[in-house]
């Protein structure tokens, strides 16, 4: 029997596979295909204080081995979330992480205050990296001081795990990650989407209504692995949740080898809806083949060349 469970700080997941924010709703839709409780966890779409309509369509566009999205944090706000989605989350037997974003420190704090008492929530993912919101988006995630202050300000408000999701669109992701950890973040999640755009040469218009969008999918796997590796190397004690470019179970395993203790799967689900479940199975098979008794042993098992 392989022990698939992994620990992310104080939180124990039954396996290392989590669905990424914004690609899975709260699990209702894909829940018709398989039971989300079979996963290690889910991260909800990002919730904001007030409802957000989101950006003008078209919001998505296919690119080489990936896609652009500019959803713009469309969501019905924390009130509707508590009313409509919390009862659904109650039934899930996996880690339920709520992703939150605010336009200022107060909004983050207010979100935590309203959500912290709910037993249906096992942790928070702080989205400081969504490139699609004018305020509260890039500004937060690209400045280590601001990220530090943000985590400082919300850390006292909850005992639940606080994960900080990092943007790759920075010169030095380690600086931002370190600031978050120094202020008390329990784990770092990397990466969010890369800033990107696409243009229709016939109409000369951007393919995305909002012009600027976020690139995800297998195209970005090498970038994501690099960031996970950098974070794990610089902060070996910090749990890293690897996100980005997972299109097959083996890609999740590369994230773990690079240093992730768990992974999140986002747009890889769109062409391959059963990918999260197949990834759980794939990690188990890998352990069998490699003679590992625990999935945890995969984390950071990268063999570097001797110089």
């Amino acid at each position: 029997m392989i022990d698939l469970s992994v620990k992310i700080g104080s939180l124990c997941l039954k396996n290392p596979v989590i669905t990424a924010s914004g690609c899975y709703g709260v699990g209702r839709e894909y829940g018709e295909l398989y039971d989300p409780s079979k996963l290690g966890g889910i991260v909800t779409k990002t919730i904001t204080l007030r409802p957000r309509e989101g950006n003008s369509p078209p919001r998505i566009c296919e690119t080489a081995a990936g896609m652009l999205n500019s959803i713009g944090l469309a969501n019905s706000g924390v009130g509707a979330f508590i009313r409509d989605d919390i009862p659904f989350l109650r039934k899930l037997e996996c880690a339920r992480i709520v992703s939150i974003a605010g336009e200022g420190l107060d909004e983050f704090a207010e979100l935590i205050r309203r959500l912290d008492p709910l037993g249906e929530i096992d942790g928070f993912e702080i989205n400081v990296s969504c490139p699609n919101v004018e305020r509260g988006g890039l500004a937060f995630g690209t400045d280590p001081d601001v990220v530090g202050k943000l985590v400082d300000s919300i850390r006292p408000l909850t005992q639940k795990p606080l994960w900080v999701k990092l943007t790759p669109n920075v010169t030095d992701i380690v600086k931002i990650g370190k600031a978050a950890v120094d202020s008390g973040a329990d784990a770092l999640c990397a990466i969010n989407t890369l800033l990107g755009m696409a243009i229709d040469i016939d109409t000369k218009k951007p393919m995305i209504g909002n012009v600027v969008a976020g690139l995800s999918g297998p195209a970005i796997l090498p970038v994501a692995l690099m960031k996970v590796f950098q974070l794990h190397t610089a902060l070996p004690e910090t749990p890293i949740v690897g996100i980005g470019g997972i299109g097959y179970p083996k890609d999740a395993i590369t994230h773990m080898i690079a240093g992730a203790c768990a992974v999140q799967i986002g747009s890889g689900q769109f062409p391959y809806p059963m990918l999260p479940l197949d990834t759980v199975a794939g990690i188990e098979t890998y352990c069998v083949i490699k003679g590992l008794s625990k999935a945890q042993e995969i984390t950071g098992s990268l063999i570097l060349p001797v110089k």
Binding site: Y24, L33, P57, E62, A64, A219, F270, Y272, P273
Partner: protein, 251 residues
Amino acid sequence: MPFDTLSEVTAIQQIAEGTFRMILEAPEIAREAMPGQFAMVGFNSPLFDPFLRRPLSFSSAEFGRVEFIVRVVGWGTALLSDLISGEQIPILGPLGTPFPRPEGGAILVGGGVGVAPLLFAGARWKNPILLYGEANSEKLCHMHSVPCEIIIATEDGSTGLSGYVTDGLREQIDKCGGTVFACGPVKMMRRAYEIAAEMGVECYVSLEARMACGVGACMGCVIQTKDGYKRVCKDGPVFDAAQIDWEALDD
């Protein structure tokens, strides 16, 4: 409830210029599919070429098989057209909200490959009438069997009535009343809605938008309605035409 299955291509045949009919073995999906619903049809390509699946409306679902009518407009549809019987592709469905079953009569208005879901409705409903329009007779889909009464129009008059498919709509409504169901180019659907609205009958349209998940999870496929953004994949693809913000729709 949708199923994600690897389905075998039973038959694939060209039925008009750049247009083919594809039949897949998919018992669970065929059992549940209803007119107006669609599937996310994928590829067999390990390196993500193309990355996303393609939304396609069912044009029929019976005896454990689902049928699509596909017009080649890009790389994805071209790849599908190259499939051969016996090959397997992943399909996720049935998805989306079907056409509401009409109480009284139904007038189906299909422009181009938009006729696909209406053929399915034509086969399932009681005595509908199908107005089917194409640019010219080369593009006109060759039907193996027509499920209901059909009136064909071509823009160049090469087959059937000459002109737009909506040109005959007023007369049809006059004749038998009933609800209008339209699928095709945005301009055509909008015209169908305007005529229906003028004449005081209901109109439902099946819209298109680029899709990623197809199940309602990603918020990628929204269109503007009078009630805010709605997901074409989950809240649609069928919408009450009166709810659509037609000004905001590109054609």
